[in-house]
């Protein structure tokens, strides 16, 4: 069949949101970052809030998020995105401000900013991509790297005794009064993608209603850092990451729904 016979408006089933720019994604093929970007931008488009949205890009693989998302954006120092977002939101309380951060950024170097922004209940949304590794710098151990998991700085596997165990910052911040909606999602399959998108919508609605922090952890793969094919990395993630970082809502409407 000829291509121009298929490409007709009535055959259109899916279209890239215009809020994703034409720039080529800098992510490795198979990585989840691009999917999370797209979902956020779809929701921003659907809610009609592009003109009022300010994104904060972190230091990490998604440092260039501003090249891909067609919204105003500030690039923050490593770990400081919640402080940068606080500064903006305090002076522009009616704008939508979200951070987009990796696990090293949010749960290691930026722990203080994460905890305190959550504790103050800043009306911002935090999108947290947990790929269990420092992707950008070449696969070093992250605070979320699983026990026994190999990385370039834990080449024999993470030793909980000497390196400390991985920790669940999402469950931790859910304990704080300032958090209103806390959930853990994934984007490796169509089902989870649909759920994740609903969660993003809810998170930005919580922000619109000025209820406090909305926080979504996306457990995601890093096929390059984990040294696996994209498909193998997704299977490994389901088998190893999901049991330790279980999917689903942790706090809804300011109430814990799952005991951590």
């Amino acid at each position: 069949m000829e291509l121009n016979k298929i490409i007709k408006p009535e055959n259109l089933v899916y279209k890239r949101t215009p809020l994703m720019t034409d720039a080529n994604l800098s992510y490795c093929p198979g990585c989840g970052h691009g999917t999370v970007h797209r979902l956020i931008m779809e929701v921003v488009e659907e809610m009609g809030i592009q003109e009022d949205t300010i994104a904060i890009a972190p230091v990490g693989c998604s440092v260039l998020a501003y090249d891909f998302m067609d919204v105003d954006c500030a690039q923050a120092a490593h770990g400081r995105a919640p402080a940068v977002a606080t500064g903006i939101k305090r002076l522009w309380p009616d704008k939508f401000v979200f951070t987009y951060q990796g696990d090293g950024d949010l749960a290691a170097i930026g722990t203080a900013e994460t905890i305190h922004a959550c504790n103050r209940g800043e009306n911002i949304t935090i999108f947290f991509v947990n790929n269990g590794i420092y992707g950008m710098t070449g696969g070093q151990m992250a605070p979320t790297t699983l026990e026994g998991m190999k990385s370039s700085t834990s080449p024999y596997g993470r030793n909980n005794e000497t390196m400390g165990p991985p920790y669940k910052i999402t469950e931790l911040i859910a304990q704080l009064q300032g958090t209103y909606y806390v959930t853990r999602q994934a984007v490796h399959k169509p089902g989870p993608v649909r759920k994740a998108k609903k969660a993003i919508r809810k998170a930005l609605e919580v922000q619109r209603d000025k209820k406090g922090i909305s926080f979504i952890e996306f457990v995601s793969n890093c096929n390059s850092g984990w040294k696996m094919t994209p498909n193998d990395s997704n299977i490994w993630m389901e088998e190893n990451m999901f049991p330790f970082y279980p999917m689903g809502d942790i706090k809804v409407d300011g109430e814990l729904v799952k005991s951590p």
Binding site: I54, Q75, R80, V84, I88, R90, K95
Partner: protein, 356 residues
């Protein structure tokens, strides 16, 4: 009608900030500048002007709050003292790299390390040479009175927005803590009088998205950016500020800023009463530095002495300006101790008589 008040230097900064129409203050307590945030909180600026004041969890957080808010075109500031300013350096470098206007106040205490809470001028290098990583400069203002503490707040924002560059008020525990009469500036409205085309407040249909970043992965682009920054720093020379006291017929020149300049004023007075033609050049901006004026003075005087509460930092810039034409001496006091006019007088007399 003039509005006069008796105030501490730190309080004058805070009151002037409200009156300058500052939109946001983010800070963390540290002696000897905690009065800035204390005064602000007491004044309820959210009621007076709508100004936001937030106590952050650290200086790292406060400078990054400033970074975010400055990127939206608002007038924002922080204040701290030496150890806190050290902690902010990565953030300050980002702010300079991303070319954001803001005000940082450093009420210096003695170091290194936790040091002492007594006054010092030992953060001169950090303030005027960049401080954090990369080739950048801050606009540095050095008030020598409570009046200038108040006046330099609005001036800092004017310069910061003119050049889209962070400005720093470099003062110390002496000026911060002492009380003097101050004529308060008039209340400005909290509206921005500056260009807002670059700010991140949400992409509207009529423009491309705005991005606040200091990242250039392409080194050709970073090179161009660095050249642009350097040209900007050079152009700041037009805004150099200094005060000359008894310089017209001077044959020996003192150079001092801030609290040390106050002491040196007395030194000039006493020297003159003893028949010695001593003058004082007081830089009010440390960056841009009055290099040209010092070079001019070097053709007229027989010697110079930089008098600082440090082991000799500004003296290096004086020497560069003088370029070997006349001897340049340094007199300094360390560790939070303050030199008396007599201490300086003695040093001046040694050099004045014996030095050339």
């Amino acid at each position: 009608m003039k509005e006069l008040a008796l105030m501490k230097g730190n309080e004058a900064i805070a009151e002037a900030a409200i009156r300058a129409g500052v939109d946001g203050y983010f800070g963390y307590p540290i002696t000897p500048q905690s009065e800035v945030m204390e005064y602000l909180m007491l004044q309820k600026p959210e009621e007076r002007t709508g100004m936001v004041v937030l106590q952050a969890e650290s200086e790292v957080a406060s400078i990054n709050m400033v970074y975010g808010a400055a990127g939206t075109g608002k007038k924002v500031m922080t204040s701290s003292s030496s150890p806190g300013i050290s902690l902010m350096q990565e953030g300050i470098s980002y702010i300079a790299g991303a070319e954001l206007p803001c005000l940082i106040v450093n009420v210096v205490r003695g170091g290194p390390g936790l040091g002492t809470i007594q006054p010092s001028q030992a953060d001169y290098f950090q303030s005027t040479k960049g401080g954090g990583h990369g080739d950048y400069r801050l606009i540095v203002l050095a008030p020598a009175s409570v009046q200038e503490m108040a006046d330099f707040v609005d001036l800092s924002f004017e310069l910061a927005f003119k050049y889209r560059n962070p400005a720093l008020i470099l003062t110390d525990g002496l000026i911060g803590q002492m009380m003097e009469k101050v004529e308060l500036p008039p209340q400005k409205e909290r509206v921005s009088e500056f260009d807002q085309s670059w700010v991140t407040t949400g992409k509207t249909k009529d423009r491309e998205r705005n991005i606040i970043t200091s990242l250039n992965l392409d080194s050709d682009k970073q090179y161009e950016h660095n050249l642009k920054l350097q040209a900007k720093y050079k152009s700041m020379e037009q805004d150099v500020m200094f005060e000359k006291i008894e310089c017209d017929d001077a044959d020996f020149l003192l150079l001092a800023y801030g609290s040390s300049a106050r002491i040196c004023q007395k030194v000039v007075e006493v020297s003159r009463s003893r028949g010695k033609k001593v003058g004082l050049l007081r830089p009010q901006t440390l960056f841009p530095f009055p290099t040209q004026e010092i070079a001019r003075m070097a053709r007229r005087v027989k010697g110079m002495m930089s008098v600082e509460l440090s082991a000799g930092q500004m003296v290096e810039d004086v020497k560069l300006a003088v370029n070997g034409r006349v001897p340049v001496y340094h007199y300094g006091m360390l560790g939070g101790k303050i030199h008396s006019p007599d201490d300086v007088l003695q040093a001046v007399e040694e050099k004045y008589i014996g030095g050339y």
